[in-house]
Subunit: 479 residues, 4 copies
């Protein structure tokens, strides 16, 4: 099913000290909680008594793993997992993670979510010294850097500190070696990463939704620029102090993250709900019914309804059975089958003035269909479009797969033109100010470059990063 929404590129997960559980199984279950972050490949690597074994393949978690594979992965002491999404130009299979490799000190497995900005220079640098790369992925570049630094440094975490000073970009990384798990978040905090506890086990995950699913308690977010090392001695935190300002991707709150996740102190659901409320104040509509585009704009629609006092209703139903193997109908039928993936609920919207709440508009193609369907099939009298984020005008340079700038509808048209293009009776976007008020309780700053074009991270660093600070060691209890 194609979508005109941007897609995240990956989700990472890691588990240490699975004495009470089967590590592979627990990570398998947990991956269902971050499946929305990457639906093209999945993988799990297991620390099986000091040997790393793994399985990864293209497909959804449910397609990649079965009883036999899980049994084969056995019940190790630790495991890390990954769900991935690749750009069209990349070989999905070769990019499946975790990346498992041998280096000077033995085996290592690595799960990576994010986007390096200075790969060209880095790749050139070590191809120059004769390295080979099999996938040319950011994960392989980091692994190669780690391996090179490991020759100079005493521990893998020290090497990682050094690597983090060399690379520029946005990332969450989980690394597993035979005797530890290391998790790290980029100094800008663009991509999310959090830590939880499951009995005596420590869990890292891109989103807290995976913690909920395996019954783990949320402990805290990993701090931007922080490295956490877990081994038999407990959890140790290293603050690389590479950066000071943080820029959590605000689009995680707008659309990417699962609605029940908490990221850097913000409830995703709460942020979306708040966006609806603020928009209702900024751009009220004279209407009979508020509906949300399923599933991502339901929270915002409820917020809009609550604030505006307009009745909330369920005006669109999504077909849950249209999956990746769906065969597109031929042209003659395609024009007729517009209600295949989404159907308007005539009993709800007929003769009504409807507020249609969307979380964001990117290319606008789907939106046009929805408005048309509400009017033609559903019999809505008016459709008032309310978009709970500003117009998307700039492509993401930090790893989210957005369309080219010249296919972003807000780059091509004014709001009024968009209104006509999609056939709505009115349209309003959340203001930039409004958007920045949505993440209630945020413990971070934000990158909103897709909306405002202010890209906070340069491709190359001007000056060397600050020196490594003291390790802040801590026992479990201390976190």
């Amino acid at each position: 099913m194609t979508s005109d929404k941007p897609r995240d590129k990956c989700g990472v997960l890691g588990l240490w000290n699975a004495d009470a559980f089967n590590a592979a199984e627990t990570v398998y279950i947990g991956l269902y909680g971050i499946q929305h972050r990457g639906q093209q490949s999945a993988g799990i690597a297991v620390n099986d008594s000091g040997k790393i074994i793994y399985h990864k393949e293209t497909g959804l978690v449910a397609e990649v793993f079965n009883d036999i594979v899980l049994k084969h992965l056995g019940s190790g002491k630790a495991a890390i997992g990954h769900v991935g999404y690749q750009k069209a130009s990349e070989s999905v299979r070769e990019h499946a993670q975790p990346l498992v490799l041998r280096y000077k000190k033995g085996q290592m497995a690595l799960s990576f979510n994010g986007c390096l900005l200075n790969t060209d220079r880095l790749r050139e640098e070590f191809e120059e010294s004769g390295h080979i790369l099999q996938s040319a992925s950011d994960a392989e570049i980091i692994a190669t850097l780690l391996s090179r630094e490991r020759v100079r440094f005493h521990t893998l975490e020290e090497s990682l500190v050094s690597v983090m000073k060399k690379i520029r970009g946005t990332y969450s990384i989980i690394i597993m070696t035979p005797n530890k798990i290391i998790a790290a978040r980029d100094p800008y905090g663009v991509r999310p990463l959090c830590m939880g506890r499951l009995k005596n086990s420590i869990v890292f995950s891109s989103e807290s939704s995976a913690l909920d699913i395996i019954g783990a308690a949320f402990v805290r977010d990993v701090i931007p620029g922080e490295i956490l090392v877990v081994n038999d001695d407990g959890v140790k935190s290293i603050n690389t102090k590479i950066n000071e300002k943080t820029y959590l991707c605000i689009f995680e709150l707008v659309y990417l993250a699962r609605t029940d996740s908490f990221i850097d102190g913000c409830s995703v659901y709460g942020s979306r709900f708040e966006a609806g409320r603020i928009l209702a104040r900024e751009s009220p509509a004279d209407a009979d019914l508020v509906i949300g585009a399923p599933d991502s704009a339901i929270a915002a629609a409820i917020g809009f309804a609550r604030e505006s006092g307009i009745t909330y209703g369920d005006g669109l139903i999504k077909n849950r059975y249209i999956g990746r193997t769906f065969i597109q109908p031929s042209q003659s039928l395609r024009e007729l089958s517009v209600r295949l993936k989404l159907n308007a609920m005539r009993s709800q919207v007929e003769n009504k003035r409807v507020v249609l709440v969307e979380d964001s508009i990117v290319r606008g193609t789907t939106t046009r269909h929805v408005v048309q369907m509400l009017k033609e099939s559903g019999g809505a009298r008016e459709v008032h479009m309310r978009v709970c984020s500003p117009p998307v005008k700039f492509p993401c340079e930090y790893g989210i797969d957005t369309p080219d700038a010249n296919t972003l509808i807000a780059n091509l048209m004014t709001a009024d033109q968009i209104k006509k293009e999609i056939g709505a009776d009115s349209i309003a976007f959340l203001s930039m100010d409004g958007l920045l008020k949505t993440p209630v309780g945020a413990k971070c700053g934000f990158c909103a470059a897709c909306f405002d074009g202010r890209y906070p991270i340069d491709r190359e660093r001007d000056e060397p990063a600050g020196s490594t600070d003291t390790d802040i060691g801590a026992r479990h209890g201390g976190l």
Copy 2:
């Protein structure tokens, strides 16, 4: 994913005169609109220039069909389809439909949804005369009867009239021969069946949702006891006049049907919404938030909120990725992973007094988990259970797969005991009177035997059914 809800057994679909479309493709797309009625097998039979070819297999529509299969089915003049669900004791594969067979007059394909009551006697009767049965399914019994009657009668529709007088039960049938399609609905109208038009094509479907999906216009419901014959001469209606009273399965409105379908004049969504409103009047709750169990109770929850004036919210999120291939976690993890399929939205429900709206309670096992999750993971202060149908106390004898009477929670406990068992702070069921008011605009009577134990159809008929009436022929335009 197991569920403690009853499941429908099948959905049927048929298309005649596909001159503007590819028949197989159109039926393929349409089956996505009734996929919820049967998720264990799927099939399509095509009239390929007078020869019937087909493909059927166990699995979802998306699993059973692919490009190669659809191409092989070609582009015939007509096609019928089926989605099925079997009892645990049946071989899923041998029961996959359409049933395709040869009889005296050539080939026939048959899709069946329903349940025959007097099969034992029928089977005995014709095994006595040496017939063999390969699946012993109701569909095969009807086909055998049809074939026997066809020896005596001049047309297949006359034979069908005769068969409908011999059989007792609930059903929707679609039959395809090389030169016509015949659709019939049981005299009691227990199972739904409707007719639509797609340009010059006539479409039959268990639910109107499939018409929407292929862009067909809804024409009307098939009348209980009616046979509709479509061929190159147009559509002809035969009223078998076998019965006078009709008993649409009210559970179709409560839970089984797709929320955007219309059945016998009732909007399914509207009925559920109305159920919520009536219940809010019958059993109000002192609470801060109304939430619905996804996805089936959302409409009712919105109705409850609207009537009660209590804020509506989205308190539970369903994991869309847990499919049939999901591997159950082992015991140690299972207890922890209660939030795998459904997660409570802490940001919404924390410290709130919550009304949890359900469409029905059958065994009650899932409900208990949901209440517990809302309290423990979600932090809800109180949970007030509101069930938008009366207690289910009687197993369905007409084809819906309900648990044994002694596992129906309402048979084992009083409402108060149920409240304690599931951990709710209060509980209320919709009254029988209330339920019967929910199908606004119904053009039929109802069977509510699962709630009130009044089974309207006897297993054997006491006296012979009325004589066949005149055929009421009609051209397309006349319907």
Copy 3:
């Protein structure tokens, strides 16, 4: 891999009283011994404590069965199996056997190898009485007849006697009910069927090669027109005495059967070897080396070499890896890759005068390639074709899938023309007299209609068959 040889249509296998073994597993292993008789479908039905369960699918035995399927079939008291091959016009899947069905007396499974001649009349007869047929296969016709007769007769074997009097054709049948296994061979003995013993188990198989494979001892061939019934009381033989003359298909000995089988007293290998010897006497060649077309003509080639005194050699090597999934090269490459399936051994044949022994020539297409390859790639000086059977001039009407009469090369050309067409330096066929001398020790007459056009069985019987004779009961020990 296409072949221009006729193909058998099926192989049947049955096992009773598997107390020391797993019945499904034993039949599974045994099917490998008759896999050459049918490579398009395979199936096994098991008597699981009185209930018949089964699995059948398109593909080779190795593709159809796996650990999970075999485990599911469990370890019953009895089992029957089938390997099948269908005509291009038939749906392979629907024709897969054993056919499993319900009739008046319960369940029955049936494996059939052969060809009924009077099906049109039979099908018409019972379609007239309202029966339906799902596959219209000969197996289903026999099952339907059996079911009808069973109403009149006391036992299934008596019904079978009656059915065998109504049907005309060539067949081997194995039937399993919850308490017995019945094996029967057509009155003309055209298709082979034999009985073996494995400890306390009785085994029936199309060929003795399957007995060898499971370690069973050969007991005897089933007599043409004989019915054998095995149950807890032992083995009972019924001589239907329908016919007196027998006509074993001589092509079984020429090509169809496995070379290590014994059929009606003849060693298949021995017959082929003898054919080579006789041909060497009938049509000697002045040559340096005798080679055989692999694999079917090796025995005959060794016989030819032995008799002629010319050196035997191995001049052609077959590629064992070219299977059903092989993707044909495109035209430009196809002309070059003639040595893909078969390669000439230059080191053996270069500059030699070679006798190329074939078992039979049907369309002649492959033969032309082989002769050309021996000369061009192998460097043979002369190639003398020696065919160990007379020219195939008549299509089989009794179940073997031969090409149309007008594509049989011996119908289109004289021997001299064939010689030129295939590029040989001389050619000779075994005489009809010679052929009839090849089955040393035969206890039967033969059908050689494909060679001599004398079809011994009429499509319809002129007069009623003789009356049933006394059952010849016998304990195990007596056989």
Copy 4:
């Protein structure tokens, strides 16, 4: 199907300048000609207008490739392929080749057959400088070395010369870059590699059998220590002159290679035939029939028969349907089903004194079964074992997967003990002198270490290898 024969580890194939053909398709077809060299993985990499795309997977060629995959690989200018076999301890999937990677100069694909001896030192060496290895295979080590040398040298072929001086071992390598194909054979010539021509295309293959299959003409063997570079300018030969003495693996002639291949001037069939003749002279037998163990000892058996004057016959038949998915019978049946894979032809061997010719005996387990079967099932009076190679007493250190020294039967027993163990009436092995006479016309020396324990290649070189010599460039026509 387990075998107690050693197995080769790989086969390589490459094609340049496929203007008249589809490169991927041609390599696909060609791989069928070396499938016997590696049956666990297969892969093809294609030069698609300067970009290298590839597909590789575990399984046979027929399993790994299908229409869709071949279509996806398109029709490039060049392609290389690989069939592989891994040691039990290796991950088959990660070792599938061709290895495709990026290095300083772009992309490279590499197919490797052989065994490096000094990998530990090499791996240590570049792990020390921070390289990572994903599979730790010999292929990846060579690629890494190449990439490192490429920094110092001007061309890839110069880098390869340098690499070949650093590595010790036995190998055939085919490398593809966007503008050339490079083939190289180890300085000792242990593993075979030859060159052919297909119209204007140049082909490299492990064995000439692949050339035959695609219709290519054999040009010559690659000389030990030679590097051949093919690009748009033609074929250039580089003689690295690293070594002077050559040691072709004699086991290629005894068992590993396809019988229709020619290696270094020897016909494989001819060598085996000659082995049979010499053995007949060295160790005659008083017998009635000579038979060979299929398929590898047929040539030798015919040679033995020819020389001894004893009648040659076909006494054993192999089941062609027992593949990798065969499910082993359980214990009770296993003892009975000894004739499953191989059956004795009673009609041939009964009451005969039989000479059973084998190509080699390694662990002896299969041989014991065969002798027993010939006597018990076949009824042979005597069985005289004649083995056409000396006793295998030493494990291969150069890449052939032989059992441990202490499971080699010739290490555990004397010939007389072996005779008793396998139940033969006499036994004789070909002498070492005899063996060395078998490769008629050989243009090389041999390694026969598995028979005589004289391992000609040391793990580490004592002194540096000689300097690179002048390139011997040549146009196509010059070869």
